[in-house]
Amino acid sequence: MGFIKGGATLCRYRILEEPDEGLTDEFVGQRLKKNAFSDIEDTPEESSIGWVEIINYLSASFYPGSFSFGNFLAFTLRQDERKLSAKTLNRYYAIREAKFITETGRKPNTIKKTEMKESLRLDLLRRSLLSTNLYQVVWLKDEAEVWLDGTSEKIRALFEDYWARTFGLALRLIVPVSLGIELMPEKFHQDIIRLMPSSIWV
């Protein structure tokens, strides 16, 4: 929850284009609603991903006051996951297969085995607890800049994919060389590109 409390990470992106209809609360709200998180608490689904409100990650109503804060927008990417290891599945399958053999007096054939395993997998998924990951996002409107509270490649890929699906706006990560190019006048850009490593010590 870095942008509200605790330690925050500022993984910075530059937004390279503007929505055709202009950057309005209506545009952002509609896109967020369309790609909102849907709860899988009472389902056997393995994972779910979508946007939730930054102040209350249990809500995805996205009325303007919940994501628009003057010169910036803020929301959270929520990912819920259930994990079922092969070891656990095999352990419970062995019990179910033994019961089948006792009841029928024969081993299940390949088709029956697949059917039993899938039914068991869904049962176990429904019974397993969900883990929730939250990745907060701040969108600075005037600077065309986005901050993601996370820097790992996995989190970045997840965010970049979901951002593209939601807003369709190209992003570019801000890294040392691109920051240098942004900060320096155009006449220095080729000089930055031509720079070679320097020996701090000789």
Binding site: I4, K5, G7, R172, G180
Partner: protein, 199 residues
Amino acid sequence: MSKKTKNIWDSYDFLELWQEKLFLGQEFLTWLWLSSEVDNRFSLNKGQFEVEVWFEKTLKLESGQGDSLHSVTCQLSNEPTTLEWAEAFISVINHNKVNSGRLKIKTPEREWSMTLSGHTLAPKSVKLTAGANFSSEGGDLSLTGQLLDRVASFAELNTVLEALFTLFIELRLSKAWEEDELPRLRSWVLKWAEQARGQ
């Protein structure tokens, strides 16, 4: 939309250029650390404001890439008799560059601590450790109030980091990098090495 440059990226592949110029982040951190050891006050934006910078706890230094990557993690010594960052200075003399470090930045109004890595220069685990609204954290402000305050604070931090990086890039592109800046830092490291030998 953005006032920021994008035309140059028509001619260069972003990922290739990022990888090719990874050394910029490492050189920036090495310069920032050594400079902060010489004098931790930096005058930024042509004297418009001043900040204090100091590294604390841990520095990770690296040289080479891929299979030839050599990495050293150095802790700030707590022993009063030992020179601070002894291992890190030796590592610089051995041609390593700072790849990440935990540091503090202080302006007249605020103070932040964060981890910076040369890879992206994205500040990680940023904490507002002093200054305006510091005491409000988790206090009377609503969650929305905290969000507004903290976003303003992080934007200010980015402005400071950009000003520090601009100072570095301006130096790095000028003759002064080879003629003045590196000799200044090297002579300081040598002075440190003489002190270390005397202990």
